[in-house]
Symmetry: C2
Amino acid sequence: MTPIRTYISENEPRFLEEWASLIRIPSISALPEHKADMTRCAERWRELLLEAGADRAEVMPSAGNPLVYGEKIVNPEAKTVLIYAHYDVMPAEPLDLWQSDPFEPEIRDGRLYARGADDDKGQAMIQVKAFEYLVRHDLLTHNVKFIFEGEEEIGSPSLSGFLAEHKALLRSDVIPVSDTSMLSADLPSLTTGLRGLAYWEVEVTGPCRDLHSGHFGGAVANPANVLCELLAQVVDADGRIAIPGFYDDVEDLSQAERDMIHAIPFDEARYKQAIDVDELRGEAGYNTIERNACRPSFDICGMWSGYTGEGAKTVLPSKAYAKVSCRLVPHQQHEKISQLFVDYITSIAPKCVRVKVTPLHGGEGYVCPISLPAYKAAEAGFTEAFGKRPLAVRRGGSIPIISDFERVLGVKTILMGFGLEANAIHSPNESFSLDIFRRGIEAVVGFHRHYA
Amino acid sequence: MTPIRTYISENEPRFLEEWASLIRIPSISALPEHKADMTRCAERWRELLLEAGADRAEVMPSAGNPLVYGEKIVNPEAKTVLIYAHYDVMPAEPLDLWQSDPFEPEIRDGRLYARGADDDKGQAMIQVKAFEYLVRHDLLTHNVKFIFEGEEEIGSPSLSGFLAEHKALLRSDVIPVSDTSMLSADLPSLTTGLRGLAYWEVEVTGPCRDLHSGHFGGAVANPANVLCELLAQVVDADGRIAIPGFYDDVEDLSQAERDMIHAIPFDEARYKQAIDVDELRGEAGYNTIERNACRPSFDICGMWSGYTGEGAKTVLPSKAYAKVSCRLVPHQQHEKISQLFVDYITSIAPKCVRVKVTPLHGGEGYVCPISLPAYKAAEAGFTEAFGKRPLAVRRGGSIPIISDFERVLGVKTILMGFGLEANAIHSPNESFSLDIFRRGIEAVVGFHRHYA
């Protein structure tokens, strides 16, 4: 066993207990009733950063939820690595689909199950435990800073203001972020591109009260019928988004990039089986990896109207709602897309209802050059830990703040995520493999050593 | 004051207390947790029928909720009137829109507010109190029977079986039903036609779990997107239902009937104002009264999918659901329409999702000939109580069991309803005017006297 593997093995019970102590705090940023949990979770991280070897750690206020800052300065002349993570998690609903309490971790078959097991408490633990190893073995030759925020899952509304206010404190040379996933356990990868996001709530109002569908049905527009009509007009039969101007800033993929994507081993049968669908569907002319990483998309994330209880209630509802989002690709500006969607829905809405479209949040996409020394260091660390060179791939998720790091701090990000599709982030039974957890710590230790 | 008006005035406090005792029992047939309330409500009606003058009253079992039977046989050779009503009510949701407790009646400005104030506890009370007056004043010269069921709001699944089993007990010459509404307080009317109903639940299944919309969006069909696409294809741009074969059995309205309908005073501006919509919408070529009473319609009664909490959760949901219904017109058979809808949705569903369409219930429409002696008796009663001759109109609601009465018992129904649109049945703040309550009792007394 290498020293790092021995260290992980000897300390794993403590690592798991620390990880569990974070998970037990339901730091759900989307739900106001969890406000106090946000501060509790930030405080817990502050303690853990100090215990891991930070010289200094504190919970700092922002316009929204507090942030945790920590640092270990070994040499003011040396390079500085700023590790970003988030301590907030998604809501756990639907609760009835969880096999164990989402906020009480349970280990089954070598996996830890809980909300935040992966996203992002588990991945952040990997970074912190790698740091701890380096500090305790006196191997750290550059400075390390930490900034953990509590609003990533709601679009990081306070982060860019915080970055602007604390530029000096956050001065650094590179920002590693472990909040993305790899192609598979057998295909380690580093993420070199992300999609942007725009998110809206659509509210359709028909009559001022729920009506008897027998007395009014056929004569009064039903807002749920209209909502379906409107949303069915967003994507055309070829899977292209029908909003005028939507593709104006989308760069066509180069043939070289498409060749690289087509070279990624992809087992469509296994992909379909993993999510139990008979057929895939997406934009005509692109394959699955292009569709879910390099091309924009439109999804209804939630929808509700009228009677949703048991049995058959005959009602013509007064209101119908949907939460909808677009994943965007680099060069699409989320504010511009946000307005295009508002204009489009407003333009196609019939006058028999009132339609209100509210943008809820958004962020830009990102592309990371693979020539960066920090990228090469990460590549070397992954190679040591996983036994093969990681592929450079673009992914479909969004971390809107990555472009803020570049814009506000002038620092590039390395997306060294250890997630896997099977981890079911944002879903019931989110989990994380303990084997990947161990290899992740090793890969991050490797990153630091090669970066130095 | 006439004797009947004096009687009502003197006994009104007791009538209201009895009415309230029914409302306080939340007899919601759609929700299984109210099972015990169904029996309690049936028992309460049994007591009230006996107190009103029935010789005999009992709660009788059925395949579903129990029924209440009562009778007063004055002369075995005389004609028999069988009064049908229902003691079940709709769910009260959305509860936050009620100005007072839906199950604790409150009187404001001469109206009683509660779930069931009109539909059908209030209207049933009118029938029972008219009966009480006739019994106590020894004016009843024909027999009266009562049959009150507890499953009307869920489509009366057990009633036709009960009718078939108790044909002799229910032998009668006419069935008055007070469960419909009048054109307005100034335009008393009797309902001579009803629409039928077919009701389905549509379940669209995409991936086997909620997915991260960033990692999968664009490559995997979203069941909520697909549900909208499917439901948007049910009604075409002219407001006609696009299901093949749907109109096959729909008889075109005769010019004479259309002339009669166009002669009904209808204030479109007031109608729109009452429900607060800027424009009406319906099938091209028909006016509002035709659309909501004589033509079929398609409404989404409820719809749900994905994340419906606060904030912005980015998820590609696993499931999307809708509860949908068609109002049908006489000659359309609900079983046939039910199957046509299942076939149509199945035929247009893409293979990237699984679609399940479950018929929940249905019933046929009904037309009542205005030449019936019982119709003429009702017309005379209404004329005395409201000071003008009631109009004969077709209405858009459905009482599926009316056609069962004719089919199983061979008896015609007279729809002598006292509701008004403003009563907001099936909606928050359902109410009933006390003035109409009093006139209703007088009209029913008149019906019995003229029918004799």
